[in-house]
Assembly symmetry: C2
Homo-oligomer: 409 residues x 2
Amino acid sequence: MAVNLAPPEAPHDIAGARWTTLRTAVRSAQRDDIAILHLPPAASVAGVFTSNAFAAAPVRLAQQHMQQTAPRALVINSGNANAGTGDAGLADARACCTTVAEVLDLKTAQVLPFSTGVIGERLPLEAMQAALQSVTPDDLSENGWLAAAQAIMTTDTVAKAASRTVSWCDAQGREQAVTLTGIAKGSGMICPDMATMLAFIATDARIEQGHARKLLQQCTERSFNAITVDGDTSTNDACMLCATGQGAALRPADAGWRAFASALEELMQGLAQAIVRDAEGATRFITLEVSGARDAAEARTAAFTVAHSPLVKTACFAGDPNWGRILAAMGRAPINDLDVGGIDIALDDVALVVGGQPAPDYREAYGARIMAQAEYTIRIHLGRGDADTVVWTSDLSYDYVRINAEYRS
Amino acid sequence: MAVNLAPPEAPHDIAGARWTTLRTAVRSAQRDDIAILHLPPAASVAGVFTSNAFAAAPVRLAQQHMQQTAPRALVINSGNANAGTGDAGLADARACCTTVAEVLDLKTAQVLPFSTGVIGERLPLEAMQAALQSVTPDDLSENGWLAAAQAIMTTDTVAKAASRTVSWCDAQGREQAVTLTGIAKGSGMICPDMATMLAFIATDARIEQGHARKLLQQCTERSFNAITVDGDTSTNDACMLCATGQGAALRPADAGWRAFASALEELMQGLAQAIVRDAEGATRFITLEVSGARDAAEARTAAFTVAHSPLVKTACFAGDPNWGRILAAMGRAPINDLDVGGIDIALDDVALVVGGQPAPDYREAYGARIMAQAEYTIRIHLGRGDADTVVWTSDLSYDYVRINAEYRS
């Protein structure tokens, strides 16, 4: 049961971003498990990828292809991650790209592959190619976002999609507007630096590739790189921003740029939070706010040390205001010369620790009331500087263990 | 159910190390929950303590007392950690030491306090002092190790104690022998740099405090600092080595020193492994061997990254040879310039990955056979250097969640 996460409303179409989905029975004959996104020649595409040293074959090939030429299509399969498959896996990913290129009249390097699912098994290449060969350009539709969001799900229980519209007045006083739509998947092996998480975002805006890349990196830090479910960064994570160029042009100096950047960050944060809300076995959605750190890295270290603590996460699952576990996790964060005398800790607006000492007015009932909620914030002030950060995480439940102990069965 | 862990046989007495245990109903009226160890004037005592910045009141006070004078008694309570209790907790710990000092005719600073249990609650000082005041020197007995091992248990299911005897010929050709006995507790919040883990070891050997301290630090690195259950380093960990000085003298240059050091390391490894075997909810005992690292720190980083991975641990619980999770965890270890082309991974003697590629002869049945066992070794060779390390861990089961979600109820 996802935490306060409704199925998405109908996402807006993006001019020039056309989807189709297919059923190749990689994992199940019951639902589509491949999605193809086709982009017009004017599109610019930016991506961020996993930092895992065992990056999967599709991740490595997508990065190679992006260095060779501008992408025109993305092919995504769920059920099999094509990771840990060595050189054979790389050849499989390339073969899929070639097949998609043939049916869409593109070159192999213009197609980017993405995979998510079980690690260490070869792709069912024959079945996939047979399905891909049946695609025709007529199958592609701008009205395909929801079907794509469903096709890329693995242990997700709710499809994840969101849209935003941004409007502004340009230098000539004309009203301009562009639209953003994004989909994402992921609910386990989730940690910063991208996890078993795929996100595909498109806009009709015309944006230079370099600007798109820089903006995507900034927004990723404050969205997908600010969530954790289990601390396990996957081999396959990727987040792509496709600007189809069918609408208004946008550059950093333009009046609309800031609104566009905010809308993109907001959309990506919403998708990232949706992944945590739908985290494997999650019953709580927890925000960690760390302030008063010397720098951003220190703030993140503190936030993720608490967010990864199994003892904090099981206390959250139990709704038990066992705040000593938050304090103990904070105390083991690898931060130099941490003076506990400067630390304040609160649950929402209830102070637990003030200046390293138990808050004198705290009563167990106050903490219990907050931790009984499905959503709350753990606030930590380090008292060492001005840097802050926000991280989102989930609790650790029986169902997390069940899902991950049974995933392959 | 602990993994292959039998209750201890009767531990050997140590001349000069005398115990008594008491019932103060800190957590339960059903069993003793305080242990007192009394040492003779000749004793030298060394300790290693948690690195947690929120070190509990007893840890801070024990360290203060050791700087002031040589310890003559240890007082340990289970059920309440006296952590996160601020200045009031420090006063409570000091009051316990004063009471013990009074009944044993010592000074307050000659008594070291230790606590383990729930964080964030004040000690039931009145009840504890009433119990401590009833102690008389006649209650102390060298035959008290097993009762002490039981009194310091919290979520442990099996008491942990072990003994070793070391003999050697001295420079004059005379046969010499000394005895070592140790007890330990801990089964959750277990991670290197000491966790909710207490260990008390005594020997009748006469050892200078400086030599004892150095030896204890060395052995701790290869025992209690080489285990992890959940990555949570606690506020209360301590490991104490008490040399009562009633038996043969030992210095690093002596013939018997090496045998003594080996026996101590072996004893501490056994106790550390017992903690992992009795880890909360554990159904498997897993050894991680990392070799081919550039230095020891890198080897430990690799080993602990895999050992902490919730996805690896749930796969171990399921007995599922989902080795991709080992590979993915290895790939996210924070190691610079890690070349996956040099990495080999094996389960016991079955190769999974050779030179970063799937081992050609591997079959799922081979991995399944090994992971069905209660104990096995994950071997990782990094191919970058000559450093190695060994770490022990447990799996992540429903019962881990149950125990930690229900611990306070």
